[in-house]
Symmetry: C2
Subunit: 121 residues, 2 copies
């Protein structure tokens, strides 16, 4: 059966009702963890570059603000709830942190939703 | 006239009434700025060392917490109000960030207060 995704509140309610098979859960978890690890590695590298260039105290507090912002952004973005996961993946594909090919194995409906939302973002 | 410093609230009120000559203000400002600059330089170096060693995300957020704590501590410590300055200098001498010799030129009463408080801390 093909599931259609209405927009807004209805879309959220549809996503809550979506079924995730065991295989899909494994794929989702792997993709999620890989993207998160990649993003954290990038964050470490960018912070190290920033730190190495510091010569004034103002840049030290700039690094602090940068890290706080980064932490909040990553916390917000990486939300592993099945009711949110398609939106999370859409954002990651849109940002280039994840490739649609990595998600192969998810149902066609889920992949279509992710692709459409990534293109629309 | 020799000023005696009572303890607690009275000491604070005595310090508020202290007179600072122009020469003393110049000495105080120079010592304050030098100690602050030294502390900021140390903070930059320690942050750079911490950053360079980061290999896990948890250490990234540890660096963030370290910087936040450092900023608050420095803000709290470096309080350039004449009513607070003798306490600030006492702390700096006690911590080894400032030498009593650097403060030469302040009145004997002020120097005695700073020395006594630095030793008592």
């Amino acid at each position: 059966m093909e599931i259609s995704f209405p927009s807004g509140k209805d879309s959220y309610s549809t996503m809550r009702q979506l079924k995730w098979s065991s295989t899909e859960k494994v794929i989702a978890r792997r993709c999620f963890d890989q993207a998160l690890q990649r993003e954290l590695s990038e964050a470490i590298q960018s912070a190290q570059k920033m730190a190495a260039k510091i010569s004034h105290a103002s840049e030290l507090w700039e690094l602090e603000r940068h890290l706080t912002q980064l932490r909040k952004e990553i916390d917000r973005k990486y939300d592993y709830r099945y009711s949110r996961l398609l939106l999370v993946f859409s954002d990651l594909v849109q940002e280039g942190q994840l490739d649609l090919a990595d998600l192969r194995g998810l149902s066609e409906d889920k992949l279509r939703y992710i692709r459409q939302h990534a293109e629309a973002a």
